[in-house]
Amino acid sequence: MKFIHAADIHLDSPMVGLERYDGAPVDELRGATRKAFENLIRLAIDEAVDFVLMVGDIYDGNWRDYNTGLYFIRQMAELRQHGIRVYLVSGNHDAANRMSRELTLPDNVHHFSAKRAETITDDHLHIAVHGQSYRTAELKENLAAGFPGSVPGRFNIGLLHTGVTGRPGHAHYAPCSLDNLTAHNYDYWALGHIHQREEMHRAPWVVMPGNIQGRHIRETGEKGCTLVTVEGGVVSAVEHRSLDVVRWAVLEVATDQTETVEEALDLAVSACEEMLAGCNERLLAVRIVFTGTTSAHARLLGEQEHWQEVLRGLLLGQFGERLWAEKILFKTAGLAHGEAEGNDSLALLLDAVGNDHDLADLMAAERSEIDTVLAKIPLELREQLELPDLDNPDDLNALFAEVREMLPSLLTLKRESQ
C-alpha cells in the first residue's frame, strides 16, 4: 500500500517580496502554487498510490475566488478517474474561508467533519482513517484529545492540522503534545500547519510534511509532500518528494576575503551557480546578503542601488530566467579607519552616525514627513514589506549605517562622473 501525505497547499497564494527588474522571469513565477499542486496530482497518479491525505490549509484564509475551489474540484476529479481516494481535513485557513464549506467535492474525497473526530475504514485496504476539520480559524482546543482509539487489526492513520507544541512563526492552533498523539496507538499521524518539513516521531510515525511550495523568503529550501509505503501493515518507507516549482533561498556572501566590489559580486555569482546546480531546472528566488568585513564596504553600501543593478545584470547574463534575485542586501562592515573623534568635517562625515540619542533626535525631526509618506501605503502591504521599524534603535542604527556610507560615495561619485 502506498499513500501521499501533503498539507498547507495554500492554492493561488502569491509569491511575495520579489523585487521586479528588467529581465526578471515573471512568467516562470506565474501560478506557482497551482503548478506545485499539479505536480502532487501527477505524482499520485505516477506512483499509483491508493489514497492521498490532505491535512489542512488547502486555501489561503482571505482568498475569495471561487475559481480556486473549482480548480481544486477538477484536480480531485482527475484523481477520481485514476481511482485514488482523498482524505481531507480543513485547517485554520480553510475554516476562515467560506468557500471550503460551499464546495461540492467529488465522491472520491472524504472531507472530515468539524463537529467531532470521525473514523473512516476501508475494508479493502484494511485501514482506519481518523480525522477532524477546523470549525473556526482560531481553534485553541486540543483536538487530539478527542480522537477515537485505534481500530485493531487495521492500519490506523490520524489526520490533524496542528502546531503540536508550538513552532515559532506559526499561530499556536489545536495545541497538543507529541505524547497526546502517540498515546492513540495509531500507525501514522499525518499533520499539517507548520511549513517546514519535520519527522517528529517514528514508530509511530508523526510527520509534518511542510508546505508544497514556498511563497516568500521565510519559506526556503525544498518543498513538497511525503510518500509513505506500507508493507504487511507496517510503514516500510517514508520519503520526501519535492513538488515546488520556485525554490526560495537566502544566500549569504561572506566578503571577508575580497578587496574590491567586483570580486565580491563575482563571489555572489559563483555561489548562485552552485546553488542553482541543486535546483533541477526550478526557478530559484534568492535573497543575496553580503556580509563580512571588506575594504569594498563603503562602495557597496554607498551605491547599493548601482551594485544591485550591476549584480542583477551579471546574474541575468549568466543564468537568464533560471534565477530571480529577490532582494540584494548589503550587511558588510568596513575595515577600521581610526574611528577618529575629530573636530574636522571629515570626522563629521565619516562618523556621521552619532549616538542613539542623536539619531533619535534627527529622526524625530523628519518623522512626521516620513509618516505622511508611509501612511499612503496600505497596512497589509506595509506588513509584508519588512520595512525598518523607525522606533526600534537597532533598525535605526542599521539604516543610518547605510546613510553614512552613502554620503561620501555620493560626493565622490559626482566627481568620477565628470
Binding site: 474540484i73 467560506r98 464546495l103 534627527l362 519588512e386 559626482k414
Partner: protein
C-alpha cells in the same frame, strides 16, 4: 604619513624610476615633468600605491597589467617606516619590498581614509577642483555653512544637497513614475482587479442552480408541444380523408357500368396491331411497282452488244497511242542533231588544218595526248619562269653584297685606333662617388673656421686670452675641477657659512649675556660691597691667626710679632670685623646668593666666550684653509677664483666651449681627410686621362678632372660602339653572301635537270622541239583541246541519230501488227492515223460495255427487293391472325373496340386502389372500415376551425420554449466562464510584485531623506565648530594670496542667513558672487588650505600628504609665489607634493624655503 620615496617600478612610461621625496622637514616637493614625461602617471601612481591600481587604469601602455608595479617607502607619524609595493589585480595586491604579499590592512594604519576616492577628494587639489570650488561658492552665494563644508570636502556639496532634495521630492511626489505614491496606486489597482476577477461562491451557486431549473422547465414545455402537435395531426388526417372516401364510391359505380370486358393478355399491344396493319397495306402497294420496273430494264439489256476483240486489245491500243507522241518529238530532235554534227565536223577539220596541215582528217586521233601528259606540260610551262629567274636574282644579290662589304671595310679603316677605357672608367667611378667631396670639403673648412672664431671668443671670455690651434688642444686636455668638487666645496662653504652664522649668533648672544650679567652685578654692587663667604672666611682666618699668636704668647710665651696692645687691638678689630661680616652675610644673604649666581653665570659666560673665540679661530682657519684649497683647485685655471656658484657657471661655460673645441677638432680632421682624398683621386685621374691622350690637364682642378674624365669616357664609348657596329654589319653581310653563293649552285643544277624533262615533254607535240616557248606550248595544247572536243561531239551526235531511227522503225511495226489483228480495214492507213482511229473505236466500245453492266446490276437489286416485300406481307398476315384468335374475333377490323373497353376498366381499378392506399396511409393504422366510421358525419369546416385553435396554442408554447432556451444558454455560458481559471490569482501575483517595488522605493526614500537631513545637520555642526578657527586661518592665507587686495574675510548677514564676504583694503565688503572668477578660486584655495591646516593641528588622524596638480595655472607670478610660500609653511606639518608641467614655476620657487625640486623624465 609621508612618502620617503615613490618607486615607479613598472608604471606608465616608467621603469625602475625612483622619486626621492625624503628631503625637507616634510617637504614641499615640486615635481616638474614636461608633457609626455609621465606627470599624470606619477600622480595616479600615488593613489594606486595607497589604494590599489584601478580596474581600467590607463598606465599600461608600456607594462602590461600583470606587470604593473608601484612602490614607496612610507614613514608613519610615529616614526615607523615601511616599504610597500602594489601590483594590479583583484586579490593580494599589496606586497612587501621582497614581493611577498601582505594583508591589505598592513597599509591601513598609514592612511587617514580607507577609500581612494575620498583620499583624492580630501587631499588632492587640481586646477579643475579649484574651478569647481570657485563656481560652487558662487552658487552658494557665500552661505557660510555650505561654503566651509565644501572647502573642507571639496566642491559638490551644494549639488549633492540639491540632488538629494530632488530625489526625495520625486519619491514622495504623487505622480512621479518611480515614486512611492504611484507604485502604491498601481498596487491598489491590482488589488481592485483581484476583487473584480474573483468569483464569489454565491454567484457560482446561482449559476449552477439556474442551469438546473431552466433545464427542467424546458423539458416540460417540450412535452406540451408534442401533445398538441399529435392532436393537430389527427384532425388534419380526418380532414384529408373526407374527399378521398367520396371519390371511392363514385369510381365503384363507373366500374360497374362497363359490364363484361375481354381481359387482354399482358403482352397484348394495340400499338403493335396498328403498326402491323399499316405495314401490310404498304407492302401490297410496293409489290405492283416492282414488277413493272423489272420488265422495263430487262428489255433495255437485250438491245446492247459491244465489240469484244477491240476491248480485249484496249491496253495495247492505249500504249501505242501514248508512244505516238514520243515518236513525233524524236523526229524533231533528229533533225537538230544532224545539223550540229555537220557544224562540229567542219570546226575539227579547220583545227586540224592549223595544227598539222598534212595529216588526213581520219588520222586526227593520232594527235590525242593523255591527261597526265597534258598536266605535265602545263606544270612545266608554269615552272619555266621560276627555274630560269631564281639563279639570275641570286647572281645579282651576290654582287650587291660584295660591294657593301667593301664599303664597311673602308669605314673601319677610317676610324681612329682603339683604346681600352676600363682603367679610366674605374678611376672615374671612384672619383664620381666622391663628387660632393669638394663641396663638403669647402663646407668643412668653413665650419672649422667659424668654430675656431667662436671658440676664440669664448676662450677670451673665459680668460684664456688669444689662442691658436695648438693651444686649443692643450686647453682641451688640461684637467679642471669637477662639478662634484664644486658641489662639495659649495656645501662646505655653505656649512662653514652656517657655522659662522651660528657662531656669530652665539657670540652675539654671549656678548649680550655678558653685558646683562655685568649690568646685574653692577646694580647689585651699586648698593655697597657685598660680603662674600670667602671674605668672611678670610677675616676669620686672620682673626684665628691673631688668636694663635695671642695663645702662643699667652700659654707658650712665644714672642708676638707686634706689641701685645697692638695685637689685642688687632685681634679685637679682627673679631669685630668677623662678626660684622658674619652679620652682613646673614643679613644680605639673598643679594650675596644672587651675586654669587651672577658671578658663576659670568664665569660660565666667560668660558663660553673662550670656547666661542677658539671656535671662531678654528672657523677662520678653516675658512682660510678652505679658501686656499679652493684657490689651489683653480690654480691651473686662467680665471680669477670666486664663489663656487660662479665657478660652476664658469666651468659650465668652459664645458660648452670644450664641446665646441671637440667639434672644431672633429671638423678639422674631417677636412684634412677630405683634402687628402681629393689630391689622390686628382693624380690618378690625370695619369689615366694622359693615357688616353687627353692634353692640357696638368693644372686642372678635381672637379674639372672628373668632368673631363666623364667626357672622355663618353667619347671612347661612342667610338668603340661604332667600331663594333661596323664589324658586326660586315660579318653579317659576308655570311649572307656565302649563303647565297651556295644556293646559286643548287639552283643551277636543278635548272639543268628540268630542261631535260621539258624537251622530252615538248617532243610529243606537233611542234619543233627546239626553242619552243611555254606560251607556244600552251597555245598548242589549247588548240588540241578544242580539236578533240569537236571530234568527240561529232561522235556523240552520230550515236544518238542512229538510236532514234531504230525506235521509229519498231513503232511502225507494232502498229501494223495490231491493225491486222483488230481492224484490218486500217492496215492501209499510216501508223499515226491507224493508231488514232483505233483509239476512237476503243473509246466507243468502252462506253457500251459500261451501260450494259449498270443495267444488269439494277435488275439484280430489284429482284432482291421484291423477295423481301413478299416476306413482309406474309409475316403481317400471320401476326394479325394470331391477335384475332386471342381477342376472340375473326377479322382484325373488330379489334379496336375490344381494346378500348379493356383500357377503361384498367384505369378505374387503378384509381380505386390508389385512393384506398392514401386513406389507409393517412389512417394512423386504422382499417378502411374504421376510417369510414371515424369520418362519417364529420364536417370539414368544423375540423379546420379546431386545427386553427391548435396552431395558436403551439405557437405560444414554442415562444415560451425559445425564451427558456436562451435563458439557459446565457446561464450555462455564465457557468462555463466560472472555469476554475487563475486570473484573479495572477492579478494578486502582480500586486505582490508591485508591493515589493513599493518596499524598494520606501527604502530608497528613507535613505535619501535621512542622508539629506544628516548632511544638512553636519554642515551646520561643522560651521559651528570650525567657522571661527577656519576663518582666522583663511583670513591670513587669503590676504597673502590676494597680495593684500583683500585684508580679511568677514561674516555678514542676509536675512537670517550668515554669508561669507571679502573685505577690501579700503574697507569695502565684496560678496563672493561679485568677486572675479580668479579671486574666488583663490579664496576657495585659501579656505581649502585653512581647512587642512586646521585639521592638521586639531585632528588626531594620521596626516596625509597633500597632492597638488598644477593649481597655480591661472595665478600670476606674485600670487603664485605667495601661495608657494604658504604651501612651504604647510609642509612643516604634512608633506606637500606638487606636480607641474610648467618650468617657470620652478623659477618661482627661488627664495622659498623647504622646496625640493624633482624632475621627471
Amino acid at each position: 604619513m609621508r612618502f620617503l620615496d615613490l618607486r615607479l617600478l613598472a608604471y606608465g612610461p616608467f621603469t625602475d624610476h625612483r622619486l626621492d621625496l625624503s628631503g625637507g622637514e616634510q617637504g614641499l616637493h615640486i615635481v616638474y615633468g614636461p608633457n609626455e614625461a609621465g606627470k599624470s602617471a606619477s600622480l595616479r601612481a600615488i593613489g594606486s600605491l595607497l589604494y590599489g591600481i584601478g580596474a581600467r587604469c590607463p598606465d599600461n601602455f608600456v607594462h602590461a597589467y600583470p606587470d604593473l608595479r608601484v612602490g614607496a617607502r612610507l614613514r608613519h607619524s610615529s616614526g615607523e617606516e615601511e616599504v610597500f609595493v602594489r601590483r594590479k589585480g583583484s586579490k593580494n595586491t599589496l606586497l612587501d619590498r621582497d614581493g611577498h604579499s601582505l594583508a591589505d590592512h598592513a597599509i591601513t594604519k598609514y592612511l587617514a581614509v580607507e577609500d581612494g576616492r575620498l583620499f583624492e577628494l580630501l587631499y588632492g587639489i587640481n586646477h579643475q577642483t579649484l574651478l569647481e570650488g570657485g563656481l560652487e561658492m558662487k552658487n552658494l552665494k557665500g552661505r557660510i555653512g555650505e561654503t566651509l563644508f565644501s572647502a573642507g570636502l571639496g566642491a559638490g556639496v551644494n549639488d549633492l544637497l540639491n540632488r538629494l532634495a530632488e530625489e526625495e521630492k520625486n519619491l514622495a511626489a504623487p505622480r512621479f513614475p518611480e515614486g512611492i505614491a504611484k507604485k502604491v496606486a498601481a498596487y491598489k489597482e491590482h488589488k481592485t482587479e483581484v476583487q473584480s476577477l474573483a468569483l464569489a461562491s454565491r454567484d457560482w451557486m446561482e449559476a449552477d442552480n439556474g442551469c438546473r431549473r431552466l433545464g427542467e422547465e424546458l423539458t416540460g414545455l417540450n412535452e406540451a408541444i408534442l401533445a398538441k402537435a399529435r392532436e393537430r395531426s389527427a384532425l388534419e388526417r380526418k380532414l384529408r380523408n373526407l374527399p378521398r372516401l367520396a371519390n371511392l364510391s363514385r369510381l365503384d359505380e363507373e366500374l360497374a357500368a362497363l359490364g363484361k370486358v375481354v381481359r387482354l393478355p399482358a403482352h397484348y399491344s394495340a400499338e403493335s396491331r396498328q403498326k402491323t396493319v399499316y405495314h401490310l397495306e404498304q407492302a401490297l402497294a410496293a409489290q405492283q411497282r416492282l414488277a413493272t420496273k423489272l420488265d422495263d430494264l430487262e428489255a433495255q439489256c437485250a438491245a446492247i452488244d459491244p465489240p469484244t476483240l477491240l476491248l480485249e486489245n484496249g491496253e495495247r491500243i492505249q500504249r501505242l497511242h501514248h508512244d505516238l507522241n514520243s515518236q513525233q518529238t524524236a523526229a524533231k530532235d533528229r533533225e537538230q542533231l544532224a545539223v550540229r554534227r555537220l557544224q562540229k565536223e567542219n570546226d575539227a577539220r579547220q583545227a586540224l588544218k592549223d595544227l598539222a596541215p598534212t595529216l588526213p582528217f581520219a588520222e586526227a586521233e593520232n594527235l590525242r595526248l593523255s591527261r597526265a601528259e597534258l598536266a605535265q606540260l602545263r606544270e612545266l610551262c608554269v615552272e619555266f619562269e621560276v627555274k630560269h629567274e631564281r639563279p639570275q636574282a641570286l647572281v645579282e644579290d651576290i654582287a650587291t653584297l660584295g660591294r657593301m662589304v667593301a664599303a664597311s671595310k673602308a669605314q673601319l679603316a677610317a676610324l681612329p685606333a682603339a683604346v681600352d677605357p676600363a682603367p679610366l672608367a674605374e678611376v672615374y667611378k671612384k672619383a664620381a662617388r666622391q663628387a660632393t667631396l669638394a663641396q663638403a670639403l669647402a663646407e668643412a673648412k668653413g665650419r672649422r673656421d667659424s668654430l675656431l672664431e667662436e671658440i676664440s671668443g669664448q676662450l677670451a671670455q673665459l680668460g684664456y686670452g688669444i689662442c691658436d690651434e695648438a693651444k686649443l688642444a692643450e686647453i682641451a686636455s688640461e684637467s679642471t675641477p669637477s662639478f662634484e668638487s664644486i658641489d662639495r666645496f659649495d656645501n662646505r662653504f655653505r656649512a662653514l657659512e652656517q657655522d659662522e652664522k651660528r657662531l656669530a649668533d652665539r657670540l652675539a648672544e654671549n656678548e649680550a649675556e655678558q653685558e646683562r650679567l655685568l649690568t646685574e652685578l653692577d646694580s647689585l654692587h651699586r648698593g655697597g660691597h657685598l660680603v662674600s663667604e670667602e671674605e668672611l672666611a678670610e677675616l676669620r682666618a686672620e682673626r684665628d691667626e691673631l688668636w694663635l699668636e695671642i695663645k702662643g704668647n699667652w700659654l707658650d710665651g712665644k714672642a708676638p710679632n707686634q706689641t701685645p696692645p697692638a695685637l689685642a687691638a688687632s685681634y679685637e678689630s679682627g673679631v669685630a670685623s668677623c662678626d660684622e661680616a658674619g652679620d652682613r652675610l646673614r643679613r644680605e644673604a639673598a643679594q650675596v646668593q644672587q651675586a654669587a649666581r651672577l658671578q658663576a653665570e659670568k664665569a660660565a659666560a666667560d668660558r663660553r666666550r673662550n670656547v666661542l673665540a677658539a671656535e671662531q679661530e678654528r672657523l677662520t682657519a678653516s675658512r682660510s684653509g678652505l679658501a686656499d684649497e679652493w684657490r689651489r683647485l683653480w690654480e691651473s685655471m686662467p680665471v680669477a677664483v670666486v664663489s663656487p656658484g660662479e665657478m660652476r657657471g664658469w666651468l659650465g661655460k668652459r664645458e660648452k666651449t670644450l664641446a665646441a673645441i671637440h667639434s672644431f677638432v672633429e671638423a678639422n680632421r674631417s677636412a684634412s681627410a677630405m683634402a687628402e682624398t681629393v689630391a689622390t683621386l686628382s693624380d690618378e685621374l690625370r695619369v689615366m686621362l694622359t693615357g688616353v691622350g687627353e692634353m692640357g690637364i696638368a693644372s686642372a682642378s678635381f672637379v674639372d678632372l672628373v668632368d673631363r674624365a666623364e667626357v672622355c669616357l663618353e667619347r671612347l664609348g661612342r667610338q668603340n660602339e661604332e667600331r663594333n657596329r661596323l664589324r658586326e654589319t660586315m660579318a653579317a653581310r659576308q655570311a649572307e653572301m656565302t649563303d647565297k653563293e651556295e644556293r646559286l649552285g643548287r639552283e643551277q643544277k636543278e635548272l639543268a635537270a628540268w630542261q631535260t624533262i621539258w624537251l622530252q615533254a615538248v617532243r610529243k607535240l606537233p611542234v619543233t622541239a627546239e626553242n619552243v616557248s611555254p606560251s607556244q606550248v600552251t597555245a598548242v595544247i589549247d588548240k588540241l583541246d578544242s580539236l578533240f572536243e569537236d571530234l568527240d561531239e561529232v561522235k556523240r551526235n552520230s550515236v544518238r541519230i542512229k538510236a532514234i531511227d531504230k525506235n521509229r522503225h519498231e513503232f511502225a511495226q507494232n502498229v501494223a501488227t495490231l491493225a491486222e489483228k483488230v481492224a484490218p480495214d486500217l492496215v492501209e492507213k499510216s501508223d499515226a492515223e491507224a493508231i488514232l482511229l483505233l483509239r476512237q473505236r476503243l473509246t466507243q466500245a468502252d462506253k457500251e460495255a459500261d451501260l450494259l453492266a449498270t443495267l444488269k446490276k439494277q435488275i439484280d437489286e430489284l429482284r432482291k427487293d421484291k423477295e423481301k416485300n413478299d416476306e413482309t406481307i406474309d409475316k403481317a398476315r400471320t401476326f394479325l391472325a394470331s391477335l384475332c384468335r386471342e381477342a376472340g374475333c375473326t377479322d382484325h377490323q373488330g379489334l379496336p373496340a375490344i381494346e378500348q373497353r379493356w383500357l377503361a376498366n384498367q384505369r378505374l381499378e387503378e384509381e380505386i386502389s390508389r385512393l384506398k392506399s392514401d386513406v389507409l396511409d393517412d389512417g394512423g393504422g386504422l382499417s378502411l372500415a374504421q376510417i369510414s366510421t371515424e369520418v362519417a358525419g364529420l364536417d370539414a369546416d368544423q375540423l379546420e376551425a379546431r386545427i386553427k385553435a391548435l396552431d395558436d396554442a403551439l405557437k405560444e408554447l414554442n415562444r415560451q420554449k425559445d425564451e427558456k432556451a436562451r435563458e439557459l444558454g446565457a446561464t450555462e455560458e455564465q457557468k462555463r466562464r466560472m472555469d476554475g481559471n487563475d486570473r484573479a490569482a495572477r492579478a494578486a501575483e502582480q500586486a505582490a510584485l508591485i508591493g515589493a517595488e513599493v518596499g524598494r522605493a520606501v527604502h530608497r526614500y528613507l535613505r535619501v531623506k535621512l542622508a539629506g537631513a544628516l548632511l544638512r545637520r553636519r554642515i551646520e555642526e561643522h560651521r559651528r565648530r570650525s567657522q571661527s578657527p577656519i576663518l582666522v586661518r583663511a583670513n591670513a592665507f587669503f590676504k597673502r594670496i590676494s597680495l593684500g587686495g583683500f585684508t580679511e574675510l568677514d561674516v555678514d548677514f542676509e536675512g537670517d542667513q550668515q554669508i561669507l564676504v571679502g573685505v577690501r583694503a579700503n574697507g569695502n565688503k565684496v560678496r563672493l558672487e561679485e568677486m572675479s572668477d580668479g579671486t574666488r578660486d583663490q579664496l576657495y584655495l585659501a579656505l581649502r588650505l585653512a581647512y587642512l591646516d586646521h585639521e592638521l593641528d586639531e585632528s588626531n588622524r594620521e596626516p596625509m600628504p597633500l597632492v597638488l596638480d598644477d593649481i597655480l595655472m591661472n595665478f600670476d607670478d606674485e600670487r603664485s609665489r605667495a601661495t608657494l610660500q604658504i604651501l612651504a609653511e604647510l609642509s612643516g606639518k604634512t608633506q606637500v607634493i606638487y606636480f607641474t608641467h610648467h618650468r617657470h614655476l620652478v623659477e618661482l620657487t627661488k627664495g622659498v624655503e623647504q622646496v625640493q625640486l624633482h624632475a621627471l623624465g
